[in-house]
Symmetry: C2
Subunit: 109 residues, 2 copies
DNA sequence: CATTAGCATCACTATATAGCAATATAGTGT
DNA sequence: ACACTATATTGCTATATAGTGATGCTAATG
């Protein structure tokens, strides 16, 4: 949008990216990778997600370029490939924050 | 994220917002409202969405505070309630653009 | 009051996907 | 070659939701 044209194909691509972030489990993974890369096992114990489930989420995030993988021996280390996700989350959190604030104003003006 | 804590509840709220944008039809609606408010019928002919379907999408966008409604007689006019959506879309489009560019570089270095 | 127009809602079907258990694959050490 | 470990993949079930047609609701009009 803005300088971009929103043809049907682009709409689908954009929606796909948002869909990747539309899942608490994946947001949790992204947050876990905020400060350092982690192996799948580490992510598992940090997020509490099952191994197969976690692996699928990581595939999705990887296919869309949100995370990068680095394999060393048996381990696969995942890291953030694009820190702009945090910009996205910030904007959304600001919105939620703002809504909560104005709701509070309604209740206790 | 960032200055926000990502408890389970917040994760769900954030994911909910992204989910609202994870649908081409709703992105199309938001894009249609970029320059001016529109009635449901106008949105229908602009987007090609069925009336019932369109109405449901508008409820979702309205419940989450993305659009505002204004009723005059028989008509309900919808407008954007928060133009920060475009910031979100811009960031995502930039990402897609960047991926396309680097893919091209790989094929024809 | 009856009719019509614009929108919302309901009931339903079809599709997508999160989560889980089981199995497969690949690297490591014995 | 064998056993073990870390991930990936597959097959499945359960749930969510996009789309559609029918129906409901409300406001304008005759």
């Amino acid at each position: 949008m803005g300088r971009y044209e929103l043809t049907g194909e682009v709409l689908e691509l954009v929606a796909q990216r948002f869909r990747a972030l539309a899942e608490p489990a994946r947001l949790q993974i992204i947050d876990a990778l905020r400060n350092r890369e982690m192996t799948v096992t580490e992510l598992g114990s940090k997020t509490g997600l099952g191994q197969a489930n976690l692996s699928k989420h990581l595939q999705i995030l990887h296919n869309l370029g949100f995370v990068a993988r680095r394999k060393t021996g048996l381990f696969v280390h995942y890291s953030l490939a694009d820190r702009r996700v945090f910009q996205l989350c910030e904007i959304v959190c600001d919105r939620i924050d703002g809504e909560a604030t104005s709701r509070r104003r309604l209740l206790a003006p």
